[in-house]
């Protein structure tokens, strides 16, 4: 029995990993490493903007590929998921392992953190068991120098038997040497002889019983010593993967089964059961990493982590930890709300002027009045509203959020809040996905991938919509500003901020409550194991933060909103202007919804605005205005006062504003978020639930508030 050659090498890359090379001569480089080692900085520095991100086939794990050219050769760089190990068998670890093992990259570069080498060597040693073509890239050399940590790279290279390159990817230090080393290893011009991890004698003996047969079956395709070890460990996932990639089941071979039985017998005789065996495997790796790191790392400054510890002492302190966190998040919101006013006003003016020019242009073209109305009053004004209301807050929020992320503060938030999430039977990292949800719920749902246990991840996905995203913030802010605040000046913006903050806190409380209820009902189960790394604080790279957050997040979200707003503007304009029996379609719908809407403190137009706002929450207020206006198109909103008058003319009270705020906080997720949930959970059932849960919560809360206020005679 042998391997089918069509299913190896480039064939596997294309079919199983969807890796597309331009020509067979392209060299494929896999990039592996622990999280928080600056792996993505290495990736970005090597490939620049020539990259493409997607998902691994059939998985919800991000896959980034990039290209670069060095000395006339083309390289395709594959960024593998960040993992600490390849032994625990999470989805990420399986992807990384399968790619290194079956994807047969020309080189695998393992990125390690120079300030924390011992822990990183764990993964390096495991990868060295799988492939010979390994390079160790010791990154963050600048951080290490600052902390007085010296890594002796040559010695490390000699001890590991693989090339070692020191880099500081953000300054570009060492990247040329890395490229040169990649070239040499890829072209087999550099002798690489990885040192194999030594296990204790019984294990070695057991391996030797199996290895020859594995080698006879697999040849040089895969490292047979490693496969033998995995077989001893009864690693089913590897057998399954081998079946998938090679169409070949290793344990079908009788001779191998026999020697495997012998090996297990040997282990049994020495009282090594499966648990003990696994312990010994890990112990072998950890001890080797310990031994090597002691030989190559010199800490000149024993108090190198004093700064981090002092900062942690403040930021996660018993008394100040949570107040500081609330203050920081509050500051981010305040800056976003306050700072967005001016550019928003500016954009509104610009769009108003543009409308004049557009009108002249369309008149010059001789456009019929009907088409002009649709294009300008419908599509253009909706677009202009969405851009001027959404762009400034996002362009402020996302960079600030990315700044906190870059500083290393976000894992501390998870650390501070984990206790409360544990009480709700959820995961501390849900705090981070919630924070991300403030920017965009769809982005928050995608961020739930960082939660590695499926149950907790589902809880985080289903409850993400409780935090108001950037699309709903303007609604909350506008309503708070109009109705809950009388007067003007500094006090009013403070009061509006407090009202919005209260809404946010309510959202957080509902998140806990819903998580708890879900854990007690449809997502029953004990919280799974929790480990959270608190990486060292890092100096943020301001320039890169702005570029990354503007391009990756702001423009992405805005582009989506614009794409949705334009057709939505068209449909809404038609609904508002197409009359049946002397009344617009919008009015008919609103009338139909009126009785129910009144029960929950809203009116038919508001509910209709939320329904039509399904594609994007940003357009709820514009739709509402369009519905209320007799002219049936969006008006120029010069001031909140005009808006307030319009609402009061339609029988609004403070209760209407409060109920609309509550409903904005708790209703169905927007179309994009629902679509993202569908993709992330691969399930219609969970998508449906993510629609129903917040909607029911919103209806119940609004009903209680509206009826309560009416019974008590508050309105």
């Amino acid at each position: 029995m042998g391997l089918t050659h069509q299913s190896t090498g480039v064939g596997i890359l294309k079919e199983m990993f969807e890796v597309q090379t331009d020509s067979p001569a392209d060299l494929i480089v896999a990039l592996a490493g622990n999280p928080n080692t600056g792996k993505s900085t290495v990736f970005n520095s090597l490939t620049g903007l020539k990259q493409h991100t997607g998902n691994w086939p059939g998985k919800t794990v991000t896959n980034a590929q990039g290209k670069y050219t060095y000395k006339g050769d083309k390289y395709l760089l594959i960024d593998l998921p960040g993992t600490y190990s390849l032994l625990v068998n999470s989805v990420e670890e399986q992807i990384a392992r399968d790619f290194i093992c079956f994807g047969q990259p020309h080189v695998t570069v393992v990125v390690a953190d120079a300030t924390c080498l011992e822990r990183n060597l764990n993964l390096v040693l495991q990868i060295m068991e799988i492939t010979d073509k390994v390079i160790l890239c010791v990154n963050l050399m600048d951080e290490a120098r600052k902390k007085g940590i010296v890594v002796h790279l040559q010695k490390l290279s000699a001890l590991l038997g693989i090339p070692v390159v020191g880099t500081a990817a953000r300054t570009g230090e060492g990247l040329n040497e890395l490229k040169e080393t990649i070239k040499l290893v890829a072209k087999k011009q550099f002798p690489v002889q990885p040192r194999r991890t030594e296990y204790d004698n019984i294990l070695q003996e057991a391996i030797e019983l199996i290895e020859p047969r594995v080698h006879a079956l697999l040849g040089e395709k895969v490292n047979s010593r490693w496969v033998a070890l995995r077989l001893l460990d009864s690693d089913r996932t590897l057998l399954e993967a081998m079946n998938r990639f090679f169409n070949f089941t290793l344990t079908d071979d009788n001779i191998l089964r026999e020697s495997l039985a012998q090996a297990h017998l040997l282990l049994q005789k020495n009282q090594v059961d499966l648990n003990e065996l696994r312990d010994r495997i890990v112990t072998g790796i950890v001890k080797t990493a310990e031994k090597i790191s002691h030989q190559v790392v010199t800490v000149e400054n024993k108090n190198y982590n004093r700064f981090d510890r002092t900062l942690d002492g403040i930021l996660t302190s018993r008394f100040f930890g949570i107040p500081i966190m609330i203050a920081l998040l509050g500051a981010v919101f305040w800056l976003t709300i306050k700072g967005a006013n001016y550019p928003s006003a500016l954009l509104t003016t610009v769009f108003y002027h543009l409308e004049g020019h557009l009108t002249l242009f369309l008149q010059w073209l001789g456009t019929p009045g009907f088409i002009y109305d649709i294009l300008v009053l419908g599509v253009y004004r909706t677009l202009a509203w969405v851009v001027s209301v959404m762009l400034p807050p996002m362009a402020i929020f996302f960079p600030l959020f990315t700044l906190l992320e870059d500083l290393g503060y976000l894992p501390r938030v998870a650390f501070n809040l984990d206790h409360y999430f544990k009480k709700a039977c959820a995961h501390g990292k849900q705090a981070l996905t919630m924070c991300m949800g403030f920017g965009c719920n769809a982005a928050g749902v995608i961020a739930c991938r960082i939660i590695d246990s499926p149950r907790e991840r589902l809880i985080a996905i289903l409850t993400n919509n409780y935090v108001p995203c950037n699309g709903r913030f303007p609604t909350l802010i506008a309503l708070a500003g109009i109705f809950l605040v009388s007067g003007a000046g500094a006090f009013s913006s403070l009061a509006a901020t407090l009202a919005v903050l209260a809404a946010v806190i309510l959202g957080v409380l509902l998140t806990f409550l819903t998580s708890r209820v879900l854990s007690a009902t449809i997502l029953r189960g004990l919280p799974s194991s929790f480990t959270l790394e608190l990486p060292p604080y890092r100096k943020p790279q301001i320039g890169k933060i702005i570029i990354r957050s503007v391009f990756d997040r702001t423009l992405f979200v805005l582009g989506r909103a614009v794409a949705i707003a334009a057709p939505a503007g068209l449909i809404i304009w038609l609904m508002a202007n197409f009359s049946v029996n002397g009344q617009s379609l919008l009015a008919h719908c609103a009338q139909f919804l009126q009785p129910f809407a009144h029960l929950i403190g809203l009116d038919g137009y508001i509910l209709m605005a939320f329904i039509l706002g399904l594609p994007a929450n940003e357009i709820v207020i514009p739709i509402l205005i369009m519905g209320y206006m007799t002219e049936s198109s969006m008006l120029e909103l010069d001031s909140f006062l005009e808006l307030k008058q319009l609402f009061i003319n339609h029988d609004w009270t403070w209760l209407t504003a409060v109920c609309m705020m509550l409903f904005a906080l708790n209703h169905w997720p927007c179309g994009t978020t629902l679509w993202t949930i569908r993709k992330e959970t691969q399930s219609v059932k969970w998508t449906l639930l993510s629609f129903l849960i917040p909607t029911m919560a919103g209806i119940i809360i609004c009903f209680i508030v509206a009826q309560g206020a009416r019974i008590l005679g508050l309105v």
């Binding site: 011992e118 764990n122 001890k287 002492g313 501070n416 194991s529 959270l532 608190l534």
Partner: protein
């Protein structure tokens, strides 16, 4: 020298413990071992989170937070130095 083994979550902040026994099973066991928590590993208890749980530990150069549910599966010997 006191050889009494106590679960890691009961070790107060500022103390060092040497891992002597791990009673977790399955995936949880692997995860803890993967952090390098094998026998004789020295763990420094750094601090408790504001609510008292989880706790941050210095393990082989990295700072890792563990909930008491995980930490109680590790039995350590307090190091007095």
């Amino acid at each position: 020298m006191n050889n009494k083994l106590i679960p890691l979550h009961q070790v107060p902040a500022g103390f060092y413990g040497k891992v002597k026994k791990l009673i977790a099973e399955g995936a949880a066991r692997r995860r803890l071992l993967d952090l390098g928590l094998i026998n004789d590993t020295v763990v420094e208890v750094l601090r408790k989170s504001p609510a008292g749980d989880p706790t941050a530990y210095q393990i082989r150069g990295a700072v890792i937070a563990l909930r008491s549910e995980e930490a109680c599966k590790l039995f350590v010997e307090i190091i007095h130095d």
